[in-house]
């Protein structure tokens, strides 16, 4: 015969076990996961300026993500690749050994290619906004993603030149991969549309541009001079052009030119010069994402964000969101981050972002800005323009 005391003990035990199981299950959704993400960028060396700018944007993305997403937290580990390919590979390998889930960063297609190759070998997603060379997405790396590309810059430059009605263009470009890619692609497109286009390459170490600008002035006699280089190149070219005064309609550059920093640093060289710009300056952010970005940037760095910060923010945020989704679905260890990135279709500060099978963003189209009275006015495309073009677009 079962005594009353013996009957109640198993029931109490079962009830206690059920209560414990219920409390464990209810705790699980409240568990916050910390994700270790690697940032490999040039913080020193020739590309330090752009690397630090991107780094700031990625940090802001982590800050905003951690604040907005109460369940998950991003912890960034940054390694300086010193603007060299060998150090970029070493940085990726070191980050992998530290157990990062993915890597973001990289600047300069020459440095990104080997770093992305190393990340691919280690089965780590590599997300960047610093490499626009087409070879980056044609190398078959399944873990490589980027939010901008040469085609987007090309469309913007060709759109502006077309709007200007230029009949001839001289292209001065640095022999680095991305600038060469862009310059030759633009030259080909201009020639196909009946515009005479001469291309003049220059070594990145060159400092005196007067011989090449003089050649353009005396031999090419173009309507527009297109510059594809970096900040120090633009300064040298514009200085030489200011001395020689070629009779052109406009001086047009690509990245790193239509920025508030260039306007502040070189006020005599920037007036009426064109360059790519996502936002006017001063910028106003209408979306919640934009406001969060702007506020966090100002709080962290006590200054206004520039295009590098904007790109760094977008690449970081997209990656962090993909990691969080992959974790929630339990696919982190099974290539889930790459899968989630491929499913991404989002409006961001740089426009709509989606990733094609090769990791490229097919929707990327840049905008063209012009320095006008210490501001940057968006002049192309028409639907985003904040003001008209000013002619001649030259600083003399």
């Amino acid at each position: 015969m079962i005594q009353r005391r013996d009957f109640h003990r198993p029931v109490r035990r079962a009830a206690l076990a059920a209560a414990l199981a219920a409390s464990c299950l209810s705790l699980a959704p409240a568990f916050a996961a910390e994700f270790l993400v690697g940032a490999e960028l040039p913080l020193t060396g020739a590309l330090a300026r752009v690397g630090n700018g991107m780094h700031e944007g990625v940090h802001v993305a982590a800050e905003v993500f951690n604040k907005a997403n109460g369940r998950h937290k991003i912890r960034l580990v940054s390694i300086d690749d010193e603007s060299t390919p060998a150090k970029a590979i070493a940085a990726v390998e070191k980050l992998a050994s530290q157990g990062v889930l993915a890597i973001t960063g990289g600047y300069g297609s020459n440095n990104i290619a080997p770093a992305a190759e190393a990340a691919n070998r280690l089965n780590l997603v590599y997300m960047t906004s610093g490499g626009v060379d087409d070879s980056l997405v044609s190398a078959g790396r399944k873990n490589f993603f980027r939010i901008n590309n040469t085609a987007g810059y090309e469309r913007a430059v060709l759109g502006l030149i077309g709007d200007m009605g230029a009949k001839s263009v001289s292209i001065v470009y640095s022999t680095k991969d991305a600038t060469t890619d862009l310059a030759l692609s633009v030259q080909k497109a201009l020639a196909a549309s009946g515009v005479r286009a001469e291309a003049h390459s220059f070594d990145p170490a060159i400092t005196d541009f007067k011989p090449v600008i003089n050649k353009i002035r005396l031999q090419d006699r173009p309507d527009v001079i297109l510059m594809a280089g970096y900040e120090n190149d633009y300064v040298g070219i514009l200085r030489a052009a200011r001395v020689l005064k070629p009779p052109v309609k406009a001086m047009v550059g690509v990245w790193s030119l239509a920025t508030p920093k260039m306007a502040a640093e070189f006020p005599d060289l920037m007036p009426h010069v064109y360059g790519t710009a996502l936002l006017p300056f001063p910028a106003t952010f209408e979306t919640a994402d934009g406001k969060a970005f702007s506020d966090a940037y100002r709080q962290l760095y006590r200054k206004e964000a520039d295009y590098l910060g904007q790109f760094g923010y977008v690449q970081g945020m997209l990656l962090f969101e993909a990691i969080a989704r992959a974790f929630d679905k339990g696919t982190l260890a099974k290539g889930g981050i790459a899968d989630e990135l491929r499913k991404t279709d989002r409006d961001t500060l740089i426009g709509r972002v989606q990733f094609a099978a090769n990791g490229d963003n097919p929707h990327f189209v840049h905008r063209m800005g012009q320095h006008q009275d210490k501001k940057i006015v968006i002049v192309w495309p028409k639907q985003y323009a904040t003001g008209p073009k000013v002619y001649p677009g030259v600083p003399w």
Binding site: R49, S83, D203, D208, V212, K215
Partner: protein, 290 residues
């Protein structure tokens, strides 16, 4: 075509003057102590950053910053000499490593102090065009060329006529004999380093006035200075000017007649050709072995 070539020659001449100013300090130390100061480019850059700081923070004209740049580079050069003079064995190789270390420290120091942004003078006059008939340049380039000529002439006179200059040449020729003649080699070598630092100050201020500066520039300046020093020949000050102008003109003609992408290659090819034909440089004298 004539106009194109004339401008190329003129630009090359002015660029050569700028190169000579940068190379002078390295040539002096190399000639006297047989030491290649791999941080020489960073000394030049230090002066350029001092000029930037004076202009941006104090509102000075960049040329006036020379009074700040001189002690900065002079003291740094003295510090470099102090460490180099402590090398007891294999001075030529070990000084390369030591000065390379200095270069890395200085480059990262500039990065920490002034970030990686590019800088240049905002003085309108320095950047305005100087037009001489069909020839164009900036005021700063012509000024830099004039300063370069003046300093080269001054240094050449000082080495030839002053007691300290002759002492320096004596130490370079034979250190032990110089000591026997009552010359203190240690102090003379310190003088050559400090003088190199002072020359770097002028070069750096001139660079800031006509070019663009950023922390990573130092290495490229050192390489250029080294090429010119070797082309000139050991201990030849007039050779520095000739080699620098030759390099500047060859580069400008390459850009004009061929492609700007080949400019740096021209320098290297010239370096190899001259060394092959004249192993002691353009103005160097053969030295007896043993």
């Amino acid at each position: 075509m004539t106009e194109l070539l004339l401008q190329a020659l003129y630009s090359g001449l002015l660029q050569g003057g700028a190169y000579a100013l940068i190379a002078l300090g390295l040539a002096l130390v190399f000639g006297t102590m047989k030491i290649i100061n791999l941080a020489h480019g960073e000394l030049v850059l230090m002066a350029a950053y001092v000029a930037y700081a004076a202009e941006s923070a104090l509102g000075w004209h960049p040329l006036a910053a020379i009074v700040l740049a001189l002690p900065a580079t002079g003291l740094t050069a003295a510090g470099m000499h102090w460490t180099v003079s402590r090398i007891r064995a294999d001075r030529e190789i070990n000084s390369l490593l030591l000065t390379f270390g200095f270069a890395v420290v200085l480059t990262n120091g500039f990065l920490m102090l002034w970030s990686a942004d590019v800088h240049s003078t905002s003085s309108a006059w320095l950047q305005d065009a100087l037009v001489l008939g069909p020839l164009y340049s900036m005021h700063s380039e012509a000024l830099s060329f004039a300063i370069s000529l003046a300093l080269l002439a001054g240094l050449w006179w000082w080495l030839a006529r002053s007691w300290h200059g002759r002492a320096l040449r004596a130490v370079a020729a034979n250190r032990d004999c110089a000591m026997l003649m009552g010359i203190a080699p240690g102090r003379t070598e310190l003088l050559s380093f400090v003088l190199a630092g002072a020359l770097a100050a002028f070069a750096g201020v001139a660079l800031y006035c006509h070019g663009v500066i950023q922390p990573a520039l130092g290495g490229a300046l050192t390489v250029k200075a080294f090429i010119i020093t070797v082309l000139a020949g050991l201990g030849s000050i007039p050779g520095v000017l000739a080699a620098a102008i030759l390099l500047g003109i060859c580069e400008a003609l390459t850009v004009t007649l061929a492609s700007s992408a080949l400019q740096e290659l021209t320098g290297m090819v010239l370096f190899l050709v001259v060394l092959f034909v004249l192993p002691n440089g353009l103005f160097g004298t053969a030295r007896r072995r043993g």
